[in-house]
């Protein structure tokens, strides 16, 4: 059930963000990222679906320019539903950074984590209202 991990990779396989909701250990994490890149970067996104079987779970991914947003979910989860989580996340990033690009994520990865933590907790979606989430994040920033 639920999201097992979320990673953002660029086309070269560089990790831009990784959030694990199950404990698998550092080395396993690195291995998984490599495998995911291999699995996903070779796919033809026009002809192929956005779902890939991965070990005993399923990867749901979307590509935005040079970045792959990948969620790993259980086989019994609604893959179409989780596919909608990615645009939700990206649209929030887009509003926040006023047109998000890879560099925004590279230099502000800790902010991206913060935003993600407002959308997903422990692998579960906690809110889907973009306005509330954004207002919350703006309020956080006032502390800085």
């Amino acid at each position: 059930m639920a999201i097992q991990f979320i990673v953002i990779l660029n086309r070269q396989g560089r990790l831009r963000l990784a959030k694990w909701y199950t404990a698998i250990g550092e080395s396993q994490q690195r291995q998984t990222i490599k495998t995911i890149h291999k699995l996903i970067s070779s796919r033809d996104h026009r002809k192929q679906s956005n779902f890939v079987l991965f070990e005993n779970s399923r990867l749901v991914y979307k590509r935005y320019n040079g970045l792959f947003f990948v969620l790993c979910i259980s086989l019994e989860d609604n893959e179409l539903g989780y596919l909608e989580v990615i645009p939700l996340f990206v649209e929030i990033l887009d509003s926040y950074f006023d047109g998000v690009c890879e560099l925004d994520i590279v230099f502000n990865f800790y902010k991206v984590y913060r935003i993600l933590d407002e959308i997903v907790v422990g692998g579960e979606l906690q809110d889907t209202n973009k306005t509330t989430i954004l207002n919350r994040i703006y309020a956080w920033d006032k502390f800085a």
Binding site: L17, A23, N78, E79, Y110
Partner: protein, 845 residues
């Protein structure tokens, strides 16, 4: 000391990987040194933790900074605390011992009056909770769930409640006993209006339901509330903050449906089912024409339709939605639709059938995973009516898909089995199989090839056999087709077995008459074509050619062609493969024997018994991995055995040949040893001596196979009416076969002679007091004989009672009756299984 920003810049501006490594190593070392300083002040600690996080993203080891993260999150500054928690969530996980040091900070921070701090702590707990943290902190989380307006003093904000619900669910996952505590909060939480809290509450319901079976009845009572939320969502208009492309909060929709499915699954008498049925119909109607996220909701609704006890009209609606998914351009919806159709075909096979054309259309899809699923679905919907039409599509698929080689062996296996099952006629089957062999002959498994040979032998229509052989000759005479392994093998075998029958008949392709010379040439052509194959396949073809040549030599008339065949066998005497060499030398010996001996030895093969084949699955659905793989191996064993049976007979020929050449005995009778060996093979008993030439793997035939072997006999015979029998006394003529103090087993000869025997097998309970039940008697006879076994008159015997079963044996006259019997029964709660041989009948058939 540089900042995080300059570190990131330095990494990015590195020209080579070596440069980059150097930058990272240097920075990593700096961070480690800083952490060693016991007087590191907070601003510096903060900077270093920032860098540590970047190291984490770069995939560098970061566990050395765990303690520092914990230090930072105790800071009084909110910003530092925030960074500390962020780092803790990334660098720690529930398996780290150091996590216990986090308990106190979390405890303090969750209680904080600052909602941001409390939120941070909750979020951290939700992400890395361990069973220990769950035990220590559940009370804090429980307090956060409180939304009763009467407790206004400590009521939490919806912002914290939504986090707390998810955290509570997580804690239940870590410590299922906590469900008892949190379940009390669920009714109030489900009454919340905030979508965030509702999402969390629904998740909490599902987790509780899964982890705590005793909670299920209580949770099912909440179904009406969840239904009312769903009803509201269906009837509600536009709500800007939650709509995703004009679908009102698809996430909440999915969660509501998922929860209802979870609650009402397998609860066919739930009073809320009717309301859910209505709502599902409404959801489908409302979202039918929506796009994007609407599909996600529709998909969730369809899954719910098939999980709960829904109306059949709703199920048809579900299938229609899926078929609409299939017809869309979007690969994702097609993918889920095929997956779902595969799992629901058992509920509504007819409704799925109606969308056959769309399914078949997906065979041409650009996405391999869609093609795979479409293929599996095609086989799933195959039946007597549509096999002709689907066959055309599948052959087209095989002809076109160069890239899908890994799918071909799946197709050949499934297709061949489907042919056996749904074929409109044997001629059609043979015709189709030849086309299949032509197109994908390299992708047949040995098991399937041997099953095709078995089918050929079982066919009693000689004219059809001739047609088959002529077709095979025509098909394999083109150079392309000759290199297809499966086609070559079948052709060679059929030439050897039936080649003489078609001499003088016209070839379909060329119109010329088939001559003996042409057949020999064909063998040679196939031999030459096999050179390019990998060695195991090449050797297999050579072995088949050897046997075919020998067989043909006894049936051909032209001395020139027989000589040609002899030379062919002779050539193999120098083969590098030892087995081929041995075989060639043996065969040259046989070649010199007189015609009568050869005729007898090289008779046509008797038809092997029919076997059930199991299909294979391409995918493991719903974690059925083990099931599928065992199914696959069963099937392999099953058909593999058939191949062994064929080989067996060849070996027997060799055995007999060996014996005869020493004893000079011209008659072909079954030697005692041979018969025992055959019995051995049937039972896979490793305790008895084995023929050296038989492949070693034969010994691994498991007992289960016996059951498979006899399963059909048993199944068929139980339907027969059983006669009333004398329940007490054993006939005087009965010969005792077995007696263990509990049960007696004897054989009474009713009649014997003229190649058949009618036996009564008597089973009697001879124990003093205990009832014996679950009695099964399985018998086997030698291979040349056939056995027809009736059902046991009763499977349960009271003391002194007896049961009978009739055995009819058919076989060559003069052969001896030998039985191997497997007897199993339950007595006093213990399952006993015995096996014994019986050869006590003096008369011969």
């Amino acid at each position: 000391m540089g900042s995080l920003r300059s570190f990131i810049r330095a990494v990015r501006s590195s020209r080579t990987i070596a440069d980059e490594r150097a930058v990272i190593r240097k920075e990593s070392a700096k961070v480690r040194t800083a952490f060693r300083d016991p007087h590191l002040d907070e601003p510096h600690l903060r900077k270093n933790i920032e860098k540590l996080l970047y190291l984490y993203i770069l995939g560098e080891p970061t566990s050395f900074g765990q303690v520092e993260c914990l230090k930072l999150l105790t800071s009084r500054s909110y910003i530092n605390k925030r960074l500390g928690y962020l780092a803790a969530m990334l660098i720690l996980d529930e398996n780290q011992e150091i996590l216990t040091l986090l308990t106190n900070s979390l405890d303090i921070d969750i209680k904080s009056t600052n909602p941001y701090v409390a939120g941070l702590a909750l979020c951290t707990l939700g992400n890395i909770a361990s069973p220990e943290l769950a035990k220590d902190l559940y009370a804090d989380v429980d307090r956060m769930l409180d939304n009763d307006p009467n407790h206004s003093s400590n009521i939490s904000t919806p912002y914290l409640r939504k986090k707390a619900t998810i955290v509570a669910a997580k804690l239940i996952d870590k410590d299922p006993d906590l469900s008892e505590l949190f379940i009390g909060r669920i009714p109030m939480l489900l009454r919340e209006k905030s979508h965030g809290v509702l999402l969390g509450a629904l998740h909490l319901v599902r987790e509780t339901f899964i982890h705590d079976p005793t909670s299920r009845e209580i949770l099912r009572k909440q179904a009406p509330v969840i239904l009312s939320h769903l009803r509201f969502l269906v009837s509600t208009g536009y709500s800007p903050e939650y709509d995703v492309r004009s679908v009102p909060d698809p996430f909440l929709y999915c969660s509501l449906l998922q929860t209802l499915r979870c609650l009402l699954d397998k609860d066919d008498n739930n009073p809320n089912l009717e309301a859910l049925n209505d709502l599902l119909a409404q959801v489908c109607a409302r979202l039918e024409n929506s796009k994007g996220s609407g599909y996600a909701v529709l998909y969730e609704a369809v899954q719910t339709i098939f999980a709960i006890n829904s109306d059949s009209s709703l199920k048809v609606l579900g299938i229609n939605i899926l078929s609409k998914f299939l017809s869309l351009k979007d690969n994702n919806t097609r993918y889920v639709a095929l997956n779902t159709l595969l799992s629901v075909i058992e509920y509504e096979p007819l409704a799925v059938q109606r969308h056959r054309n769309i399914v078949v259309g997906c065979l041409q899809d650009g996405d391999i995973s869609i093609r795979r699923r479409a293929l599996e679905l095609t086989f799933a919907i195959m039946n007597n009516q549509n096999i002709r039409m689907l066959t055309k599509e599948l052959l087209k698929f095989l002809g076109r898909s160069e890239e899908d080689n890994d799918l071909k062996s799946y197709i050949t296996t499934q297709f061949t089995l489907a042919c056996y099952k749904y074929s409109p006629g044997l001629e059609w089957t043979f015709h189709t199989l030849i086309q299949l062999l032509e197109k994908a002959g390299d992708y047949f498994s040995d098991d399937i090839l041997s099953s095709i040979l078995a089918l050929t032998m079982q066919n009693e229509d000689k004219e059809l056999t001739k047609k088959l052989v002529i077709h095979l000759i025509a098909a394999s005479s083109s150079p392309d087709a000759a290199s297809e392994f499966g086609l070559s093998l079948i052709t060679i075998w059929c030439l050897g077995e039936y080649g003489d029958l078609v001499v003088g008949m016209p070839n379909y392709k060329s119109g010329k008459l088939i001559t003996e010379k042409q057949e020999v040439d064909q063998l040679e052509l196939l031999l030459n074509a096999s050179i390019l194959k990998k060695s195991s396949r090449r050797d297999q073809i050579r072995l088949y050619i050897l046997t075919a040549s020998l067989k043909l030599s006894s049936r051909f008339k032209s001395a020139k062609q027989i000589e040609h065949l002899r030379q062919m066998i002779n050539k193999f005497k120098n083969d590098t493969n030892l087995e081929i060499q041995i075989r060639a030398i043996e065969y040259t010996e046989i070649f010199t024997e007189t015609k009568t001996i050869k005729r007898g030895l090289l008779e046509r093969m008797p038809p092997p018994p029919r076997k059930e084949h199991q299909g294979i699955a391409l995918f493991d659905r719903e974690a059925g991995r083990e099931k599928t793989s065992s199914g696959e191996s069963d099937q392999k064993k099953d058909t593999g055995e058939m191949l062994l049976d064929l080989l067996d007979d060849e070996d027997d020929v060799d055995d007999q040949k060996a014996e005869e050449s020493t004893s000079g005995n011209a008659g072909i009778s079954e030697s005692k040893n041979g018969a025992l060996d055959i019995l051995n093979d049937i039972f896979g008993d490793t305790g008895m001596s084995h023929n050296a030439q038989q492949p070693a793997k034969k010994q691994s035939t498991s007992n289960k196979d016996i059951l498979d072997l006899f399963g059909s006999v048993r199944g068929a015979s139980t339907t027969k009416k059983t006669e009333a029998v004398d329940k007490i006394s054993i006939p005087e003529t009965a010969i005792t076969a077995y007696d263990d103090g509990n049960i007696y087993c004897g054989v009474d000869v009713e009649s014997i002679g003229d190649g058949k025997a009618n036996l009564d097998i008597i089973v009697k309970n001879i124990s003093s007091a205990s009832t014996i039940n679950g009695i099964t008697v399985l018998c086997a006879v030698t291979k040349k004989q056939k056995l027809d076994l009736s059902a046991l008159t009763q499977r349960e015997l009271a003391p002194k009672e007896l049961g009978k079963l009739k055995a009819k044996i058919l076989g060559p006259s003069g052969s001896k009756v030998k039985l191997r019997v497997r007897l199993s029964y339950n007595v006093g709660g213990e399952k006993i299984q015995r096996q014994f041989d019986f050869a006590g009948i003096q008369k011969r058939l």
